[in-house]
Amino acid sequence: MNATDDSQQPEKRLFRVMSGPHLRSPRSIDKAMFMVILMLMLPAIGAIYYFGIYVLFIILTAILSAVITEYVAKRLRKRKFYFDGSAVLTGLLLAMVLPPRVPLWMVVIGAAFSIAIVKEAFGGLGHNIFNPALAGRAFLTVSFTGLMTRWVLPITTGNDAVAGASPLSGSFVWEGPTQELYRALLFGNVGGSLGETSALLILIGGLILLIIGIINWRIPVFYIGTVFLFTWLLPGQDPVFHILAGGLFLGAFFMATDYVTVPLTNTGKMIFAASCGFLTVAIRVYGGMPEGVAFSILIMNGFTPLIDRYTVPKPLGYMKPKPKEKEKKSKDAPEKGDTA
C-alpha cells in the first residue's frame, strides 16, 4: 500500500494501519491438517500391507470423493473453497473406519454424506457438531449393515479375503496363548476396519502428534485410561484386550482429538474423553453392538457445547461476583422455607 511518492518527501508516504499484533506465528490450519494426515499415513500403509492393494483404492476413493464434495458444496453455498486439507483428512479418516472389502460406491456415498451433510450443511470447517468421518461411518452402518460388518482376515495370516470376525464380535474365537493375541492386536494381524488393526502404528503416529503439540495429551490419556480402568473393575473383562482391540486407539488419538467437535478447555477435554471411555465400555459390554468407539464419540460430540458452557476457566485473579448478592440469597432461603 506504499504510495509512490518521490523520496524527497518521505513524510508523505502512507503506511498500512492495522490492529496488532503485527507479528504472527508460522502456524496455520493447513499445516496442522497436513501433520495429522501425515501421521495417519502410518496406519494407512499398514492397512494396505495387511489387507492388500484394494485398500489403496478405498483410501483414494474416499479422499477424492470428500474433496470433490467439499468443492461442490462450497460452490453451491457461494463460499470460498480452501484446499486446507480438512476434506482430505475427513476422507482418509472415513476410509480408516471402513471394512477392508467395502464396495467403492459405498465409499463415495459415505464421503459425500460426511462432507455435504455433516460438515457443510452446518457451515463448514469449524461449525460442524459431529465428527464427519464417524458420522459417515454411522450413516453407512445403519444403511448397509450387512456390507459394513463383513470382516475379513488379513492376507498376512495366509488367508486371502477369508471371512473372519473382528476381535470384539461375539463370534470371535482365539485359540492359543493370550500373549499371542495381544501381539496380533498390537501389530494388526487381526480382522477389523482398516485403521482398527494395528494399535502400534496408530500409537506411533499419535505420539508424534502429541509431542509436536498438534493434539492435546489429555484426550488419549483419559480416554484409554478410563477404558482400562473400567474394564479392569468389571468381572470377566480383560483390560489389555479392551484397549488394544477395535478402534479405541484410532478413536482416542485421531477422532476424539478432532478440534472442531470436542470441548475447548482442558477440563472440558478431560470430561469429554473420560465420558467417551465410559460409553465405549458400556456399549461393548452391555450394548447390542460389538464396538462402541464410534458411537461414544458421536454421542459426546453432541454434549460438547454443554461441556464448553460449564467449563469456562476462571480468569487470573478471579473473584466471585458481588458477594452481597450471595448473602441475600442465603437470607432468602430460610424465608422461602418459612412460607412453605
Partner: protein
C-alpha cells in the same frame, strides 16, 4: 492445538526475539527543529496547555498541566517559540486531542528544578510532588502516572517493589540498553522508592535472554551495597513484562480482577521510569526525553535518546531510512504496538520503539476450535468466544460469561492463531460495545 508434551500449559507464548539493536550503544538523536507535543501522552485525561502561540519556552519548562487525577504534567522538550496549538489524533487511541507545536531556537536552554540530593530529609509529600511535577509516567508503555502508583491509599501496605527490566516484546531493546548504560542511575534511585513506599524488599526482574544485563545489575547491586535488592532472572516468555503476569510469575500472587498490583502489596516500576525518577530528584530534570529503539527495516537499527514530539521520520532517517518492502510503521513493539499512518507521528512518553516492518500478509479464516488461544492466554480467558459472540453482537455475554474486561490485549492469542483471526480487534470492539451498553443503562 495443545502445547506439546514438554510445554508447560500456564499461558504465555514463545515469540522470536529479533533484538537487532541489543549491542548498540544509546546515541543522542539530533535535536529536532520542530516538535509536536501531544497533550495525551499518558493514561488518563489529556493535559491542559498552559502556553499560547508566541510564548517563548525553555527545555523542561512546564507547558501543560494535568487534566484530571489520572493525568500528568507535560514539559517543553526543546527551547524555542510556541508556533501554534493544533488538534491531532492521539497516536495510541486515535482520539482527537490538542498538541503544542514548538519551533526550536537551536540553543536547547534548560529550565531546571532545584536538585533534591537530600530527599531523605524532606517530607515524602515533597518528593512525590517532584515526581508528579516532572511529569513522570510509566515508561514501559502503559504510561500510568507514576506519582499515583507511588502513593498507595492509606491502609494499603506495600511489601514488594518490582523493578521491571523484562522487556518481553520482540525487537525492543531500549530498557536493555538503559540497564547496561544507566544501570547506576537505577541503582541510585531504588532507595528513593524503598523510602517512599516504606518497603525494603525489591526484586529486579530481568528476562533470561539478557544475561549481560542480569550480570551487570547483579554487579552494580554488590558494588553499591544497596540493601534488600535481589535480581530475579525470569523465564523468557511473552508477556512476562506485563504487570499482572510478572507479579504472578515472580511472587505467585494473583492480582484480583479489575485491581492493580497495589492491592496485593506490590508496586511494579519499569527501569526507564526509575531513571526518570533519578533525573527528577538528583538533576532536577523534567521528563522530556527517552530511549527509543528504531529497528526493523531500517538501514542501521539504533537506540536513540530522543526528545518527545520528535517526528518519527527524523529518527528513522538518522538510522538510514526505510529499507526493503516495509509497509508498516509501528510505535511500540510488534505485539502491542500501534501502527501509524505516516512518518509524521511525533514520539510520546510511551514510545519505546519505532518498528518498521512488512505487515504480516494473512487471511482470516473461520475458527476451527483448536484452542491455541485458550492455551496461550496469560489471563486464563477464552479468546475465541469473543469472536463467536461478536459475530452475533452478544456483547453482554462477552463480559458476564467470559470476562472480556480482564483481557490485557497482549496479542498472544492472535499471534498463535492458525486461522489468523485478529482476535485483539474483536476483543477491543467487544470491550467498547460492552461499555456502551453500560452507558445506555
Amino acid at each position: 492445538m495443545g502445547t506439546g508434551l514438554f510445554g508447560k500449559n500456564s499461558g504465555g507464548i514463545k515469540v522470536p526475539h529479533r533484538k537487532m539493536s541489543d549491542k548498540k550503544m544509546i546515541e543522542g538523536a539530533s535535536l529536532p527543529k520542530v516538535v509536536t507535543v501531544p497533550m495525551g501522552q499518558h493514561l488518563g485525561a489529556p493535559a491542559k496547555p498552559l502556553v499560547k502561540k508566541g510564548d517563548v519556552v525553555k527545555t523542561g519548562q512546564l507547558i501543560a498541566e494535568p487534566g484530571g487525577f489520572i493525568s500528568a504534567n507535560i514539559h517543553a522538550p526543546i527551547s524555542g517559540t510556541v508556533k501554534k496549538l493544533v488538534i491531532m489524533l492521539n497516536v495510541v487511541t486515535s482520539k482527537p486531542m490538542e498538541a503544542i507545536v514548538i519551533e526550536s531556537d537551536g540553543r536547547d536552554e534548560w529550565s531546571l528544578m532545584p536538585k533534591m540530593d537530600d530527599w531523605r530529609s524532606r517530607p515524602k509529600e515533597e518528593v512525590l510532588q517532584r515526581i508528579k511535577g516532572a511529569g513522570i509516567v510509566g515508561l514501559g508503555g502503559a504510561t500510568f502516572p507514576t506519582h499515583v502508583k507511588l502513593s498507595p491509599p492509606p491502609g494499603k501496605k506495600i511489601d514488594t517493589i518490582i523493578i521491571n527490566g523484562c522487556e518481553c516484546e520482540p525487537y525492543i531493546t531500549s530498557d536493555h540498553r538503559v540497564m547496561m548504560e544507566y544501570g547506576e542511575k537505577v541503582i541510585k534511585a531504588i532507595p528513593i522508592l524503598q523510602w517512599l513506599l516504606d518497603c525494603n524488599n525489591v526484586f529486579f526482574a530481568i528476562e533470561k535472554n539478557k544475561p549481560d544485563a542480569i550480570q551487570h545489575i547483579t554487579d552494580l547491586i554488590a558494588k553499591h551495597g544497596v540493601k534488600g535488592v535481589r535480581v530475579a532472572s525470569m523465564k523468557t516468555k511473552y508477556p512476562m513484562g506485563a504487570e499482572k503476569t510478572l507479579t504472578k510469575s515472580l511472587l505467585g500472587r494473583e492480582v484480583p480482577m479489575g485491581s492493580l498490583p497495589l492491592d496485593v502489596g506490590v508496586v511494579v516500576q519499569n527501569v526507564s521510569t526509575v531513571i526518570a525518577i533519578h533525573d527528577a530528584i538528583y538533576d532536577g530534570k523534567a521528563l522530556v526525553e527517552r530511549v527509543v529503539t528504531v529497528t526493523g527495516n531500517v538501514k542501521v537499527p539504533k537506540n536513540l535518546m530522543a526528545r518527545f514530539g520528535t517526528p518519527a521520520v527524523e529518527l528513522v532517517e538518522s538510522c538510514g531510512g526505510v529499507v526493503g518492502d516495509a509497509d508498516e510503521i509501528i510505535f511500540g513493539g510488534p505485539m502491542m504496538g500501534i501502527s501509524q499512518p505516516n512518518l509524521n507521528s511525533p514520539t510520546t512518553k510511551g514510545t519505546n520503539c519505532i518498528l518498521v516492518k512488512k505487515a504480516p500478509d494473512v487471511e482470516e479464516r473461520d475458527c476451527f476450535r483448536c484452542s491455541s488461544c485458550i492455551d496461550a492466554c496469560p489471563m486464563n480467558l477464552m479468546p475465541t468466544m469473543y469472536v463467536l459472540l461478536a459475530k452475533k453482537s452478544r456483547w453482554e455475554d462477552c463480559e458476564t460469561l467470559y470476562y472480556v474486561n480482564n483481557c490485557v490485549e497482549c496479542g498472544s492469542c492472535a499471534y498463535v492463531c492458525p486461522a489468523k483471526i485478529p482476535l485483539v480487534q474483536y476483543i477491543k470492539t467487544a470491550k467498547l460495545e460492552y461499555r456502551k451498553l453500560g452507558v445506555k443503562k
